[in-house]
Symmetry: C2
Subunit: 331 residues, 2 copies
DNA sequence: TAATGAAATGCACACGTTAAAATTATTGAT
DNA sequence: ATCAATAATTTTAACGTGTGCATTTCATTA
């Protein structure tokens, strides 16, 4: 492996000059810099990041932490997140991936090992980790889950607005009796999406029938169970908003089991636009939550935070978009 | 941040002794070691991996490289792979994730940055990268795609055997007219799976009708197209093996579009057992390719390779398993 | 008790880089 | 031509750790 000292010898300068030249210091004369850069390229020099890190105290790695990678249904999450991040990340940054539940020793999470940390959060159980990171002072951005704490940089989708639009669309198709299968109790996203649902109904002066609010927990099974209950109602809804696509799939299977045809007899709309929403039969209409965009924006904010540590934390919202497929019928 | 020198001062020994004690050197007396370990724990000492790396020339990171993370349909791949790997990986190893297509400068891939590399390969376009890694001497394991080169450690599923079992099962259900939708031409996996298909037919003395061999390329669309063609045959098959689940989903949609009911009129069986195979309507019968197991085994082999660099490269096969769901009818 | 050898520890340097301080070269003004 | 000011470069030290070799400590034997 060749080092700056080797280059220095060839160029007839000191290794410090090489270091400066290669790092764009203004202290170096142009001709010297050019010569050094040429020689470095010729010798296929690649900097030793460990040595760099040791002295600059930067690690050139940013860590991506998921609530869990062993559990958690949403596999598309991970891919989309990594996509978005690597899109925004400089090539000589390393991206490491971890499950928060796999971190047994918080002591391993140190400023010296991570220049910055992205948390793709799915549950408030991540808070202990998040606050550890915040406490030891590693630049931090939390993605996907809306936090109450305004002192932490946070990038999320505008769930409420997105759901409102979706329900507006369902209503515009002539539906009057709308039900909702709610998300996991206590989760911010659950209440946000429910709010969006109600916003739309209220705007359209449709009644809020308490029998049309079914509890779920974001799992496929809970979608199945909730839908089964809704179908046995004396006067079933004509359209059901499922607070995520997993539950929508469960709901669709429930319809299938009860010989209720989608969308002829009942319309369904989900939330997330997971990878296989388009491959269900019929293809699921849903609200796209742009995980890749969220991740990319979050990464940009993190980089900003690295460069200017006193940047004010903000809560940023990324717009969702309605994806019309085949599960909402015109009435 | 506290260093071994701080510990040394407190313990009243030299930093060398601390270093040795903490790294399990046999040169240190037990009482000394115990004292040092106690003090280190009390002071919440965490080693500086950059300094360690600089002097030992080990990076404590292993790189996971995918063919692409921007493209490539199979999102469950990534999750399962990371699952399997982090399962086998020591906590003080870092796992970094990259897309091979995102590596613009092979010069960045150096022994100094990666102790070892795992390639989750999906296409032979990865070969340039693989051989670069091999050439510069980074310990390497290639996962998922079977290589011809016996000098590279390789862990793959036993596709041929898995398909044979699956087709045996389909035949045992009374099917006689079986078709196959083949994978991408030129891919090792395509020919392996086709071989498994033929193995079974030959064993059961069923005829190989060339009209029942449809070309695909692993994409959903190609599955749709191939199935459409098979359905227009004067004497259509009663069961179709699709060389992966994506094509099976395309095929299922083709049946749906042609008003052919699955499995009543035609049976389908896929390969991979992707995450949403169980959520199709009806749920897809398929062959599970254990990506997590492959990754875990591959990681173990890599670790072995790190510890004993002269370990002989092998080609290891991981068993697939038949997943019976609802798309193969009894006749 | 002294000599011997083995066990335990310390010293000094190295790893490749950046940064502060010191030195030398160059320019401009008188 | 001289001096000051500034530009360009070098010298020296430091980051935290591991390792070869020298040194000390300690138990054993003569």
């Amino acid at each position: 492996m060749i080092t700056i000292k080797d280059i220095a010898r060839v160029a007839g300068v000191s290794h410090t000059t090489v270091s400066r030249a290669l790092n764009g210091s203004p202290l170096i004369k142009k001709v010297t810099r050019d010569k050094i850069e040429r020689i470095a390229a010729e010798m296929n020099y690649v900097p030793n990041y460990n040595a760099k890190s040791l002295v600059t105290k930067r690690s050139f790695t940013i860590g991506l932490f998921f609530s869990s990678i062993d559990q958690g249904t949403s596999s598309s999450f991970l891919v989309d997140a990594i996509k978005g991040i690597s899109h925004a990340l400089d090539e000589n940054f390393n991206l490491t991936v971890h499950g928060i539940d796999g971190v047994h020793n918080f002591g391993n999470i140190q400023p010296q090992r991570f220049d910055g940390i992205l948390v793709m959060s799915q549950s408030d159980e991540d808070n202990a980790f998040i606050y550890h990171v915040k406490t030891i002072g590693i630049p931090l951005v939390v993605l996907n889950r809306q936090l109450e704490d305004p002192s932490i940089m946070n990038v999320v989708a505008n769930d409420r607005e997105g759901v409102r639009e979706a329900i507006d669309y369902v209503v515009s198709q002539g539906h009057q009796k709308l039900a909702i299968i709610e998300g996991k109790p206590g989760f911010k996203s659950s209440t946000e999406r429910k709010q969006g649902f109600m916003d739309s109904l209220i705007t359209h002066r449709l009644q809020l029938d308490s029998g049309y609010f079914a509890q779920g927990d974001y799992s496929i099974e809970s979608g199945y169970a909730a839908m089964s209950r809704l179908l046995t109602l004396p006067e079933p809804p004509t359209a059901v908003f499922c607070s995520n696509d997993d539950m929508a799939i469960g709901a669709m299977n429930a319809c299938y089991a009860h010989k209720v045809s989608v969308p002829q007899q009942i319309s369904l709309i989900g939330f997330d636009d997971i990878m296989f929403a388009r491959y269900t039969n019929p293809a699921l209409s849903t609200v796209r939550k742009p995980i890749a965009d969220i991740s990319e924006l979050g990464t940009k904010m993190l980089i900003q935070l690295l460069q200017q540590p006193d940047t004010k934390p903000q809560q940023l919202f990324v717009k969702t978009s309605l994806v019309v497929r085949d599960t909402v019928a015109d009435r």
